[in-house]
């Protein structure tokens, strides 16, 4: 990609000897364009923070290349990479107040005081810390320290902004508010940013593209909508989405011109064969066994269909989350009207072919996605 601010080429990270130690990041390659906001999303220990720290230069790159604005930087120390980073663990300078912490990098640039103050005021207002600028770090709450630390990174002039769990310590209400503001702030200035987060709501709300990581492997690198509609494998399918995607192993059979999916518990769903595109149908029959995934909002209750028994029914104000025992497991339904079912009720479930994601049971790789089936 031309004009990529950041390019990772086959990057590996080993803790310990190369080839022998803990292989924390495995052969990760990605391009980040100017003005993009990228989220590295994954659970703890997935390699996302190691990747970020390699980009920043705080961790050695065990193998592979990192290009930043056209320069190869994997052997350069952090100060020469021209990146700004906000740390998860705040790391404010304890001996100076919040204002001086934030303005620290600007002081080195010898900007006039009025310009520094204006910049600090702007970013402080955005992050709702205008009222604590004169306070010392040790008198602040975790959330305040984190925002000060974020401000200190954002105020700098850098090619790339690295934000490690920038909102982890904040309260839910504030987090929701700041997400929108932060995105606006970054976009308005054409900044390029990579944030590490384990919170998919945050990733969805902030990022143009999300890099989903697990076991050190980049599982999928795509837009939030693409991740949702076309998960590359079972991992991203079940990791992204709240509540998570329902997955069930099924065996595929043909019965009197109908395509039948048989579940472990004995339930089955039958479809007209032409409900599936020819090549999908062929792939299904060729494998015989597949794993199907269906998003909770796409599970429908109906007069016909496969039976399930309601386990819980939780109303959240704007949607109901119903779980039911189904096919030796649990199926989750999201309904936007209040669901009037009680625990123990028998419901009948229908899954539309247009909503089915099909995965290979061995490799976990996606075979096809609902909308292209029909």
């Amino acid at each position: 990609m031309n004009g990529a601010v950041l390019r990772l080429e086959n990057v590996d990270k080993f803790y310990g000897a190369v080839g022998h130690g803990v292989h924390a990041v495995r052969n990760v390659s990605m391009d980040v364009g100017k003005g993009d906001i990228i989220a590295l999303l994954g659970s703890s220990g997935c390699g996302k923070t190691s990747t970020l720290r390699m980009i920043a230069g705080f961790e050695e790159t065990s193998r592979g290349k990192i290009h930043l604005s056209g320069r190869e930087v994997q052997t350069l120390p952090p100060v020469k990479r021209h990146v700004a980073m906000a740390f998860e663990g705040y790391s404010l300078y304890p001996t100076v107040n919040v204002r001086d912490n934030i303005a620290f990098a600007l002081k080195a640039q010898r900007l006039p005081r009025s310009a520094v103050n204006a910049k600090v005021a702007e970013v402080a207002e955005m992050l709702e810390i205008g009222d604590i600028l004169e306070r010392m770090p040790n008198s602040l709450s975790g959330g305040q320290q984190q925002r000060a630390s974020l401000a200190r990174a954002l105020i700098r002039d850098a090619n790339l902004y690295l934000l490690d769990e920038p909102m982890g310590q904040l309260e839910p209400q504030l987090r929701t508010l700041l997400r929108g503001r932060l995105k606006h702030f970054i976009k308005e200035r054409g900044m390029t940013a990579i944030l590490v987060t384990h919170d998919q709501t945050e990733a969805n709300a902030l990022a143009d593209r999300i890099a989903v990581m697990e076991d050190g492997v980049l599982q999928q690198f795509a837009s939030p909508a693409e991740l949702k509609e076309r998960p590359a494998n079972l991992f991203t399918g079940t990791f992204v989405g709240e509540p998570p995607m329902n997955v069930f192993p099924v065996s595929v059979a043909s019965d009197d011109g109908r395509l039948v999916l048989r579940f472990d518990g004995g339930q089955s769903l039958a479809y007209p064969e032409n409900a599936f595109a020819a090549e999908v149908r062929a792939a299904l029959f060729a494998r015989g066994q597949v794993v199907i995934g269906v998003r909770p909002y796409a599970v429908r209750r109906s007069g016909t269909g496969a039976p399930a028994n309601v386990l819980t029914n939780q109303w959240l104000g704007d949607q109901s989350h119903v779980s039911a025992s189904f096919a030796k497991g649990t199926i989750i339904l999201v309904e936007h009207d209040r669901a009037h079912v009680a625990i123990g009720d028998r419901i009948l479930i229908e899954l539309s072919p247009a909503d089915l994601h099909v995965f290979d049971p061995e490799s976990g790789m996606a075979i096809s996605h609902g909308r292209e089936l029909a």
Binding site: G317, V334, D337
Partner: protein
């Protein structure tokens, strides 16, 4: 009543945390304490557990006044936000700790630990020490420890806070069943409104130094007593629009985007007063231009959020409103559109104080499309 608090007060060096909290929790109820951090939720749990003492007021558990009763004699199970597992003991010993205190037989303890661990699906890691457990396993071990002695009172201090979203969701589904099987009276602390809605028989919303509203999830969500509480529940948050009700041809109305919109007759008393109209994003619908109550908006942005599509739209007076609809439901994603408010679900608050206007006869009907 299995837990009764009356006028419980607590402050820490000039910082008044609880200013006269009273609460009755009947046996078997799950009460959620909900509120921002610093509202005193954890302090309240600790007072009930007896690890800190109140400055005043009475705490009565199962009919007995707890004053002077040490924590080990209160018969309470508790799970902590940071798990607070004993790092030098394996999961088995952690879960067994309430049983060893009661000097049960070794085989009895073993059987009970096994039973609890199986219920929580951690029976395969009982020999592991906490540092060898994943976050989810730690959380389940902590829960197992709280449940092991089958206490009649369970205090759960935000036990799902430190586990990832997927596990949190799974536990949210699993917990009600688990708790019902225990037959215990539960106080559950959380900052997540979805957990509060899903788990609570009742929710007590805590604000500055006390409980600001207590009620069923329906009451809290549909009839919040102030804008502040209304904003705490719902994602995205409720739309609040400054309005001044007027007298229309057929009763009180408000002006929105140059259109007159009728409001419930019970709001007649609010005419001429500066108010805040609260309407949840899911109670606003995209409609055809001519539909009743329709008014024009410009669509600014659209984002997916938890099985919903959230649209940010601007009214003609440049007021921003959020509209949400189920994922996959059709709707405009750019340009001009018309929306209508479901006024049966609109709430009116006093602009100055934030308090909901006209106490009890406001809409009680459920959300409907």
């Amino acid at each position: 009543m299995s837990i009764q608090l009356s006028d419980v007060r607590k402050s820490f060096t000039n910082d008044l945390v609880l200013d006269g909290v009273s609460l009755d929790i009947p046996t078997g109820e799950t009460l959620v304490l909900f509120g921002p951090s610093g509202a005193g939720k954890t302090v309240l749990l600790r007072l009930i557990a007896g690890v800190i003492d109140p400055d005043g007021g009475r705490i009565i558990v199962n009919g007995a006044d707890m004053e002077g009763v040490v924590p080990e004699d209160r018969g309470i199970g508790m799970a902590f936000q940071n798990f607070a597992l004993f790092p030098h003991m394996d999961a088995h010993a952690n879960i067994a700790s309430p049983l060893t205190a009661r000097r049960e037989t070794r085989s009895g303890i073993k059987a009970r630990v096994k039973e609890v661990a199986t219920l929580l699906k951690i029976d395969h890691v009982l020999a592991h020490r906490p540092m060898e457990l994943s976050n989810g396993q730690k959380q389940r071990t902590a829960l197992g420890r709280a449940l092991a002695a089958e206490p009649s009172i369970l205090l759960l201090d935000d036990p799902l806070r430190n586990v990832d979203a997927k596990l949190r969701f799974e536990m949210r589904l699993e917990l009600p069943r688990l708790l019902k099987e225990q037959n215990a009276t539960v106080i559950f602390v959380t900052q997540d409104y979805k957990e509060a809605m899903a788990l609570g028989d009742r929710i007590a919303v805590m604000g500055d130094s006390g409980i600001v509203q207590i009620g069923t999830p329906e009451e809290i969500y549909l009839r919040p007593s102030s804008t502040r509480i209304a904003r705490l529940f719902g994602d995205p948050t409720i739309n609040l629009l400054d309005v001044v009700p007027e007298i229309g041809a057929h009763g009180p109305i408000i002006q929105l985007s140059g259109r007159e919109i009728a409001i419930s007759g019970s709001y007649a008393g609010a005419v001429g007063q500066a108010c805040s109209l609260g309407i949840r994003p899911e109670a606003i619908h995209f409609v055809e231009p001519g539909a009743p109550g329709a008014f024009p908006v410009e669509i600014e942005a659209e984002t997916p959020l938890n099985e919903k599509t959230v649209t940010l739209a601007a009214t003609r007076n440049n007021r921003e409103i959020l509209v949400s609809r189920p994922s996959g439901a059709p709707g405009p994603d750019r340009g001009s559109a018309h929306v209508a408010f479901d006024m049966g679900n609109a709430l009116l608050f006093d602009l100055a104080t934030g308090a909901r206007m006209i106490g009890t006869d406001a809409p009680a009907n459920e959300m409907s499309k």
